[in-house]
């Protein structure tokens, strides 16, 4: 006969294990006055600080939609919920996908089927955005993406995927237009720069979906604008040291160094550049790394003169967009920091969701899909300098991209003991004289 302990243990363990799996999350019977939106971001690992920014931006937008904000001159501040849905509140269900596409997909299923969200917003990492959007496409659930800029995402013919932010093509074109502007003397505070001082480019992209596609795009487009790529580096993700990459760039003697980095890498690059006394004329970053408050805070004076593409610059907001300035102030009260490209885009993403829901007047996926395809949000309603939000399409193979988006270029300038992001492009919106060339290291 078998011993009692043993059989008890065996049965006990299997039962425990199996019930653990079987524990169904108590599907909360959400009040009809609540609309759930699933939000997926990296909140652990190397991108946790970025995820934190996105979260703050998204939550602020939801709060502005849900509550009355008499001091904000933006329509949705007066809404107290989605008007066309009887004032239903938006509830964000935030989850951490840990930068893992599989986990993102699994969590998306949880959000869609168990949490019964009406749609999803996310996911920052382009790779996770891909897998999550695939799930949404299969389930027929709308997904609005606010922070991934890989051009491929809107070129897959998906029917349930929309993106508010401009993609890397727009940003790359902006960069070259900006460089041309420098040559033509259009940039505030800088005279005409000889083309020879600007046409040798070094490109350094992090070896991820975002970095690789960004770098390739730059490389492809450079010749069209009369630039030469003298050094092209895709550098190892999670690299403990970037000295030799920096040396390789220095040896190529470029005029402009163009980064497509996440934040930790570009901090390391800047420190290495300083130790090598390497100062090209222009150091430009493709948003993600260089735009974050962490970048400026951590590098301090060393960030002075770094140029970054972005979609939101507080200084511009203060000068030309009063509502943006107001919202920036609210955000600053909450977090102690200005809105950045990252958090402002997340804010706009949730805002777009709110407008879409309002337009749809229903939480039916089909209605939302229709609303998404037809939506137009006026530039006066949003904090960006964009021409508004409309998911049309500029090219036949593109679907769901906001065609009214616009990029900006800002420059970190060290003023009174802190870094301020000043706009240098579009030229009309310039908020300060540009620092050119990138200052020599002390």
């Amino acid at each position: 006969m078998f011993s009692k302990t043993r059989s008890l243990l065996v049965v006990g363990f299997l039962v425990c294990a199996v019930t653990l799996i079987g524990v169904a999350p108590l599907a909360q019977a959400g009040s009809p006055k609540e609309i759930k939106i699933g939000v997926l971001f990296p909140l652990s690992g190397g991108l946790a600080s970025t995820g934190a920014l996105i979260r703050q931006g998204a939550e602020l937008a939801a709060d502005i939609v849900n509550d009355k904000w008499p001091n904000l001159d933006i329509p949705m501040a007066k809404w107290e919920g989605i008007p066309s849905l009887g004032g239903a509140k938006i509830k964000l269900i935030v989850m951490d996908h840990r930068s893992d596409p599989a986990r993102g997909a699994d969590l998306a299923k949880r959000l869609i089927e168990d949490e019964k969200v009406v749609g999803i917003m996310g996911c920052y990492n382009s790779s996770v955005t891909k897998s999550v959007s695939t799930v949404c496409e299969r389930y027929g659930v709308p997904m609005i993406n606010s922070n991934s800029t890989s051009p491929l995402l809107t070129r897959r013919g998906y029917n349930w995927f929309w993106r508010t932010t401009p993609d890397n093509i727009t940003f790359t074109v902006d960069l070259f237009k900006f460089l041309e502007g420098l040559v033509e003397g259009k940039v505030r505070g800088v005279g005409k720069i000889p083309r020879e001082e600007l046409d040798d480019l070094a490109i350094a992209g992090e070896e991820t979906e975002y970095g690789t596609t960004g770098a390739e795009l730059l490389k492809e487009m450079a010749p069209e604008y009369g630039c030469r790529v003298v050094k092209y580096i895709l550098y190892a993700h999670e690299s403990p040291d970037l000295t030799s990459e920096s040396q390789a760039m220095q040896a190529a003697n470029p005029d402009c160094v163009l980064f497509i980095p996440y934040v930790s890498d570009v901090i390391l690059y800047m420190r290495t550049f300083r130790s090598l006394r390497f100062s090209p004329h222009i150091i430009w970053g493709q948003d993600a790394g260089t735009v974050q408050p962490d970048f400026a805070r951590v590098l301090g004076k060393d960030a002075n003169g770094v140029i970054t593409r972005t979609v939101f610059i507080p200084e511009v907001a203060i000068k030309v967009k009063p509502i943006a300035a107001q919202i920036n102030n609210v955000y600053k009260e909450r977090t102690g920091e200005d809105l950045s490209g990252t958090s402002a885009r997340a804010f706009t993403g949730i805002q777009a969701w709110a407008y879409v829901l309002d337009k749809a007047g229903s939480t039916e996926p089909k209605a939302i899909q229709k609303a998404c395809n037809e939506i137009y949000i006026s530039p006066d309603d949003i904090i960006m300098l964009w021409g508004g939000i409309n998911f049309g399409s500029t090219t036949p193979d593109e679907k769901g991209q906001n065609v009214l988006g616009m990029g900006m270029i800002g420059q970190w300038q060290w003023k009174d003991g802190k870094n301020v992001l000043e706009a240098v492009y579009p030229f009309d919106y310039a908020t300060a004289d540009m620092i050119y060339p990138f200052p020599e290291w002390e």
Binding site: S3, I21, D96, R98, P101, T213
Partner: protein
């Protein structure tokens, strides 16, 4: 001819028979099978189903790893590379040429087995930690290469074309379909393991694990035994990878070939109890739901890393209190019973 028939019958009997196991284990396992089989009809919410699929996938990974790591005693921390080979073979062949899923599986297995064979002989010159780090290094080299190469999609990854479900050529279903798909794969591997654990090879492998010199003195080719097992393990990893590709429909080297995956696979077997057929299943049944529910319930709460902290504490407690895994508790109880009676 008759001899051959007899041999086949013997193999079949070994594969499907559980008579040598105690009644309690058989009952528990039968209950488990019934539960898993009817799971999608018991539980109507999606996430538990997703967790169940992930559990079955990792139980399968764990069963495969258990061959080399449990029965063979070789700490292999590079199983992710085989998962990657399987996943990429399937994903690339389907996207490029529209090859049906079931043809891509043997290709993935072949790639994994050929690669494993190529590195196995040098690898098995190494012992203990040197071996563990070497497997880890080889797997990482492949990951870096897959990221570097263009034809694999590099860091951009591979997206499989979406078909209208259910589709048996490209194996795309709804959650329930995938549940039975992975359940079938799991059962196939489980039955193989049931045959294996009783086979001559299993005894030889365990002899090699416990003492190589003694094993050699009994006519066992030590290296070849290890290599053989390593290849079978590789093949099993590749099958799991192929499933992963058609299940998630997106892969990149960072998600299918990463270090964490290798470690998690080995950990499922270790936590459950390496070297027993139940170990990996128990381990996956504990770790996967734990990980998934902690992540889903606490991950978005805004306390950074709280889910990891709890998860890590549980792993540490298991490793410290039960170094032989959960199955170790049961075995110990059993042995104590034996000693006291005998």
């Amino acid at each position: 001819m008759v001899g051959k028939m007899k041999a086949v019958v013997g193999v079949l009997k070994d594969t499907f028979s559980f008579n040598d196991l105690p009644l309690s284990e058989r009952i528990a396992f039968a209950a488990f099978l019934v539960f898993v089989f009817f799971f999608p009809w018991i539980v109507h919410t999606s996430y538990p189903r997703v967790v169940m699929i992930r559990f079955l996938l990792f139980a399968m990974y764990g069963l495969g790893w258990n061959l080399i790591g449990g029965y063979g005693g070789q700490v292999d921390l590079g199983q992710a590379k085989n998962v990657g080979f399987g996943a990429f073979a399937t994903a690339l062949m389907i996207t490029w040429w529209g090859v049906p899923f079931w043809i891509t599986v043997p290709v993935g297995i072949t790639v994994a087995v050929v690669e494993s064979f190529a590195v196995a002989y040098p690898m098995f010159r190494l012992r203990g930690h040197y071996f563990a780090i070497a497997t880890l290094c080889v797997a990482l080299v492949w990951q870096k290469l897959f990221l570097f190469w263009d034809w694999t999609g590099g860091a951009r990854g591979v997206e499989l074309p979406i078909k209208s479900a259910p589709n048996f050529t490209y194996m795309q279903f709804g959650t329930i379909g995938y549940h039975y798909f992975i359940f079938a794969l799991f059962m196939a591997e489980f039955l193989f393991m049931n045959w294996f654990r009783k086979s001559k090879m299993s005894y030889e492998l365990q002899a090699v694990r416990d003492n190589e010199d003694a094993a050699a003195s009994l006519g066992i080719n030590v290296t070849w035994t290890k290599v053989k097992t390593y290849l079978i393990t590789a093949a099993m990893g590749a099958v799991g990878g192929s499933f992963y590709a058609v299940y998630h429909l997106y892969i990149d080297p960072r998600c299918v070939m990463q270090l964490d995956l290798s470690i998690l696979i080995a950990m499922t077997a270790m936590v459950g109890g390496a070297g027993s057929i139940w170990g990996p299943i128990l381990g996956a049944a504990i770790l996967i739901p734990l990980d998934m529910y902690l992540g889903a319930l606490l991950g978005g709460m805004g306390f950074y890393g709280i889910d990891f902290i709890i998860y890590a504490l549980i792993i540490m407690v298991i490793a410290a209190r039960e170094p032989r895994g959960i199955w170790g508790i049961i075995e110990r109880a059993r042995r104590r019973g034996y000693v006291l009676r005998g």
